[in-house]
C-alpha cells in the first residue's frame, strides 16, 4: 500500500512540476538556513566539559566597590586581583584550585634555522591538569612542590611536540621560552574544549588550543606579562611590584567543588574572606561575591555570539514562512484533485486511506526538500566564515548528526504543513464531487 501511495504521490508531483519545484525549493531554503545557523549555535552553546560542568566554579570578589560597579548592575569584576588569587590559593578551601592567565610566551627553537614563534600559552597551578581532565601523551603535569619552588618546568601540547621533536617523547628535554630554559615534564594529548571555558574573558570563548603550560608561580617570578585583559579601577602605580599589589584584575580562578554542599561552603568562605578584607580596611563595602559553575559562567559571559542567536532566530522565522507557503501550495494542489478524491472515496477508500496517501505525498516532497536543504546547508556551512570569526566558523561542520537532523526537519516540517490540506482533502464529499461532474 505504501509503495502504491508513493507511486501515486510521485505521479501527482510530476503532473505539476513547477509547483512541486517551488515547494521543494522553499522547504530546502528554509531548512538549510535553519541548519546552517543552528550549526554555529550548536558549536557555540556546546558544553565544553560535560562530566564536570557542575563541579568547576569561578569565584568573583568585588574589590572595586559599588561605585565602580554601577555600569555592571552590581556584579563583581570578571577577573580577580593577584592579591585575592594568592589568598584563595593559600587557603585551599576547594578540592582543587588554580589561578591562571594567558602568558605572553614565545618559543625559541634550538634549531638556529628556525625563527622564534608564538603559541597559545597559559600559566596556572599543578591542580589544573587533573581538574580540567587534561589527557597526557607522555609524562604528566608538574607537582604541587614544583609550584611551591617556582620550578622552571613546562607541559607542551601535541602539536608543539610534533613541531619541535617530531612527535617523539620529549619529557626531560628543555624548551626555550622567552629566552629561558624550561624542562618538559609532560606532553598533553589533544585537549580542545569548545568553547574554551577556562578563559572566556580573554578569548570570548574561542581560541586555538593551548600548546604551552608553565607554573603560575614561575611565570610571576620572571614577570611574565599577561596576554589578556588587565582592568584597573584606578592607577596601579609604576612598575611590576606596584601592579601585582594593585586592585587591577587580570587573573582567572577555578575551584573544583564536587558536591553542592561543598559549593555552599565555598560561597560562605568567599563571603567570610570578603568580610575579613572589609575588617582589615581593604574593602569599604559589604561582601559582594559570586560563585558560578561552568554552565552558569558561560551563560553569564554571553559566550554564544549575538550574531549566532539573531541569525538562528531569523532563520527559524524564515523556515516558518516557508512552511506557511507550503501549506498554501499543498492546499491548492490537493483541492485541485477534489474530483479524484471523490472517485476514490466512492470506490471505497476510507478517510484514513486518503490521509495516508496525501501525507505520503507530502513526505516525498519533504524528502526532496531535505536533499536540496542538505546541499544548501553544505554551501551555507562553507560560507559561514563570511559572517563569523574564523575561530567560530571552523567549529561549524556538516557532520552525520547535522545531516540526519536536516533530513528529519525537512520531512517532519513538510508532513506537519500537510496536515491541514490533507484534512481538507479527506473532508471531500464523494457524492457532491460525482454529482457536479
Amino acid at each position: 500500500m505504501f509503495a502504491y501511495y508513493l507511486q501515486l504521490g510521485l505521479r501527482s508531483l510530476r503532473k505539476n512540476p513547477l509547483l512541486t519545484l517551488l515547494m521543494v525549493l522553499a522547504i530546502g531554503c528554509g531548512v538549510a538556513a535553519s541548519m546552517t545557523t543552528y550549526s554555529v549555535f550548536r558549536a557555540t552553546s556546546n558544553n565544553p566539559i560535560p562530566q564536570k560542568s557542575s563541579q568547576l566554579y569561578v569565584p568573583q570578589i568585588d574589590n572595586w566597590g559599588p561605585e565602580a560597579q554601577q555600569d555592571n548592575k552590581g556584579e563583581p569584576p570578571n577577573a580577580i586581583t593577584y592579591t585575592d588569587a594568592i589568598n584563595l590559593m593559600r587557603d585551599k578551601r576547594a578540592t582543587r584550585q588554580t589561578a591562571l592567565f594567558p602568558a605572553a610566551m614565545s618559543i625559541v627553537p634550538a634549531d638556529p634555522s628556525m625563527l622564534p614563534f608564538r603559541e597559545t600559552s597559559y600559566a596556572w597551578y599543578a591542580d589544573a591538569f587533573p581538574m580540567f581532565d587534561i589527557p597526557f601523551l607522555y609524562g604528566h603535569g608538574w607537582t604541587a612542590d614544583e609550584d611551591a619552588s617556582h620550578a622552571a618546568v613546562a607541559v607542551i601540547g601535541k602539536a608543539l611536540n610534533d613541531k619541535l621533536f617530531d612527535g617523539a617523547n620529549s619529557v626531560g628535554k628543555n624548551i626555550n621560552l622567552n629566552g629561558r630554559d624550561y624542562r618538559i615534564v609532560g606532553v598533553s594529548a589533544k585537549w580542545n574544549p569548545e568553547p574554551v571555558f577556562y578563559d572566556v574573558i580573554n578569548t570570548n570563548g574561542f581560541d586555538d588550543p593551548i600548546e604551552v603550560f608553565i607554573p603560575f608561580t614561575r611565570a610571576v617570578e620572571v614577570q611574565t606579562t599577561t596576554n589578556g585583559n588587565n582592568n584597573c579601577s584606578k592607577d596601579p602605580g609604576k612598575g611590576w611590584d606596584a601592579w601585582i599589589k594593585s586592585e587591577c584584575v587580570w587573573l582567572g580562578f577555578w575551584a573544583e567543588l564536587p558536591t553542592t554542599a561543598q559549593a555552599d561552603a565555598y560561597r560562605q568562605y568567599l563571603n567570610g574572606y570578603a568580610a575579613e578584607q572589609q575588617r582589615s580596611g581593604r574593602f569599604h563595602w559589604a561582601p559582594n561575591t559570586r560563585l558560578r559553575n561552568v554552565t552558569e559562567w558561560l551563560d553569564y559571559q554571553k559566550v554564544v555570539p549575538q550574531e549566532a542567536k539573531v541569525s538562528l532566530l531569523v532563520s527559524l522565522g524564515f523556515l516558518l514562512i516557508c512552511l506557511v507557503n507550503t501549506v498554501g501550495l499543498l492546499l491548492a494542489k490537493f483541492m485541485k484533485r477534489a474530483s479524484e478524491i471523490g472517485v476514490r472515496r466512492a470506490l471505497g477508500a476510507t478517510r484514513k486511506e486518503i490521509y495516508l496517501q496525501f501525507l505520503i505525498e507530502a513526505a516525498a516532497i519533504g524528502l526532496a526538500g531535505g536533499v536540496v536543504g542538505l546541499v544548501l546547508t553544505g554551501l551555507g556551512v562553507m560560507g559561514i566564515s563570511l559572517v563569523f570569526e574564523p575561530d567560530i566558523a571552523k567549529l561549524a561542520t556538516l557532520d552525520a548528526s547535522l545531516v540526519l537532523l536536516t533530513m528529519l526537519l525537512a520531512i517532519l516540517a513538510t508532513v506537519l504543513a500537510a496536515f491541514y490540506p490533507t484534512w481538507r482533502a479527506a473532508q471531500v464529499q464523494p457524492a457532491w464531487q460525482l454529482k457536479s461532474n
Binding site: L22, A33, L331
Partner: protein, 410 residues
C-alpha cells in the same frame, strides 16, 4: 470602481487560502523590516571613517623574544631606523595600537583633578612626532609634537604627559563650550595636567564593538615611545609601493633582529586587510540578512502566484459567467488585483505590528536600537507592490478566460 463587497463574499469561501497569504505577508514583513534594519545598522558601522588616510598604509605587529618585557626601547629604535631606510617607505611610527586593531588602552579623563567621576572616556595612543604624518591625520588646530617632547617610557610606568594631541570628538566632550586648544585635561586619576597642543579632525578608537560605541572617536595621543617588547609599526608607503613594502618590511625587521616573533596570522597587513578583518562580522551579517530578505520575498511572491493561480483555475466557470454577462477583461483583472490588495492590506497591518513587536523583543534581548518607522513604511509598500506584481500573471490569465467557458462543464 472597486468591487469590494463581492470580493469579501468570495474570500469568505476561501478562508484558509486567504489567511495563509495574509499570514505569509505579515511574517515576511516582520522579518524583512528587521533584517533591513540590521543591514542598515551594520553598514553604517562599516562606513565609519578612521580619520586616517587608509591607502598606502600598512601595519606590522612584532614581539621581541628574550628581552625583558619593558626594556625593548633600543630594539624598537633599531627597527624604526631599518624601516625608514627601506625604499618605498615614506614614514613609520611605533605605536601601542591603532584604529580597528582590536586591542588597546582606554581610560577616563577629567577637566577637574578633584572631580569624583571622569568627564569622558577615551583611548590612549602612545607615539612620537611621526604619528600624525604616518596616519595622515588632519590637524584642525594647534601643532604636532616636537621631537624634544617625546619621552621613552616603560609601559608599566608611563609618566603623565605635559602635552597631548586629542581628537575633535574628545575636545568637544571635554570642553563643550569652545576651543579646547591650550586647555588642560587630567588622564585617569592623575593630578598633573596635560595641555592640549593639537586637535585632529578625527581619530577612531582601536575597537569596533558596540561597547565602544559611546566613545568611538574619543582619542588622545601621548608623546611617548613605549619600551615594550610588544610593538605595532604603522608604515606609510610612497604612493603605489604598498605591495613591495609589504614584502620588504618584515624581511628587513628579521634581518635587523631575528629574536622576534611576527605572527604568521595578521602579523603583516595592509590597512585594507585590517579594515576587512575588523568589519568581517558586520559585513557578513549584512550579506546574510540581505540573502535572507531576497529569498524570503521570492518565496512569498511565488506562494502568492501559486495560490492565486489555483483560485483562478477554480473559478474559470464563474469568470466565464461574468464575462458572458458583460464584464470586461479589465473588470476581471481588477477583481483579482483588488482581492490581493485587500488580503495584502490585512497582512501588512498585522505584519507592521509583528515587525515592531519583534524589534522591541530584540531590543530587550540583544542591545539593538529601536526600529525606525521608515523601515516599516518601506516594507509595507514593498510587500503590497510585490503582492500586486505576483497576482498580475494569474490575473491576466483569468482575464483571458473566454465567456464560452460559462457554457462548458468543468
Amino acid at each position: 470602481m472597486l468591487q469590494i463587497k463581492p470580493i469579501l463574499a468570495a474570500l469568505k469561501r476561501h478562508k484558509a487560502g486567504t489567511v495563509l497569504i495574509a499570514m505569509q505577508i505579515a511574517l515576511t514583513l516582520a522579518i524583512v523590516c528587521n533584517a533591513i534594519f540590521i543591514i542598515h545598522q551594520r553598514l553604517d558601522r562599516v562606513q565609519r571613517p578612521t580619520g586616517m588616510v587608509e591607502s598606502d598604509l600598512m601595519a606590522i605587529q612584532t614581539r621581541f623574544v628574550g628581552t625583558e618585557e619593558t626594556k625593548a626601547g633600543p630594539l624598537v629604535k633599531a627597527d624604526l631606523v631599518a624601516l625608514r631606510q627601506l625604499p618605498g617607505v615614506q614614514d613609520v611610527v611605533a605605536l601601542n595600537s591603532y584604529p580597528l586593531r582590536g586591542g588597546g588602552w582606554s581610560t577616563g579623563v577629567r577637566t577637574d583633578p578633584d572631580a569624583k567621576n571622569s568627564k569622558g572616556h577615551t583611548t590612549q595612543y602612545f607615539g612620537d612626532e611621526h604619528t600624525l604624518p604616518t596616519m595622515a591625520l588632519k590637524l584642525i588646530a594647534g601643532r604636532n609634537f616636537r621631537a624634544d617632547e617625546i619621552v621613552e617610557a616603560d609601559p608599566q610606568a608611563v609618566p603623565d604627559p605635559a602635552v597631548i594631541i586629542v581628537s575633535k570628538a574628545l575636545a568637544e566632550k571635554m570642553y563643550p563650550e569652545g576651543s579646547a586648544l591650550g586647555k588642560v585635561i587630567y588622564i585617569g586619576d592623575s593630578k598633573s595636567p596635560s595641555t592640549i597642543v593639537g586637535i585632529v579632525e578625527r581619530l577612531q578608537v582601536p575597537w569596533n564593538g558596540t561597547w565602544s560605541d559611546s566613545f568611538y572617536e574619543n582619542s588622545l595621543i601621548q608623546p611617548v615611545q613605549l619600551t615594550s617588547a610588544f610593538t605595532n609599526y604603522l608604515i606609510r608607503t610612497k604612493p603605489g609601493q604598498l605591495a613591495d613594502v609589504l614584502k620588504a618590511a618584515p624581511a628587513a625587521l628579521v634581518k635587523t633582529n631575528r629574536m622576534r616573533v611576527i605572527p604568521s596570522e595578521r602579523g603583516v597587513r595592509s590597512f585594507a586587510q585590517v579594515r576587512e578583518y575588523a568589519y568581517k562580522g558586520d559585513r557578513g551579517m549584512a550579506i546574510l540578512m540581505g540573502v535572507v530578505c531576497l529569498v524570503l520575498l521570492g518565496i512569498t511572491a511565488a506562494g502568492i502566484v501559486g495560490l492565486t493561480s489555483f483560485w483562478v483555475g477554480q473559478r474559470r466557470k464563474q469568470i466565464g459567467v461574468r464575462r458572458a454577462l458583460g464584464a470586461t477583461k479589465h473588470d476581471i483583472l481588477s477583481y483579482f488585483l483588488t482581492e490581493n490588495l485587500l488580503i495584502g492590506i490585512a497582512g501588512v497591518l498585522i505584519g507592521a505590528l509583528l515587525a515592531v513587536g519583534m524589534n522591541l523583543w530584540l531590543v530587550t534581548q540583544f542591545e539593538m536600537a529601536r526600529l525606525s518607522i521608515v523601515y516599516v513604511v518601506v516594507g509595507v509598500v514593498t510587500l503590497l507592490l510585490l503582492g500586486q506584481g505576483a497576482t498580475l500573471a494569474p490575473a491576466m490569465r483569468a482575464s483571458r478566460v473566454s465567456p464560452v467557458e460559462a457554457t462548458r462543464s468543468v
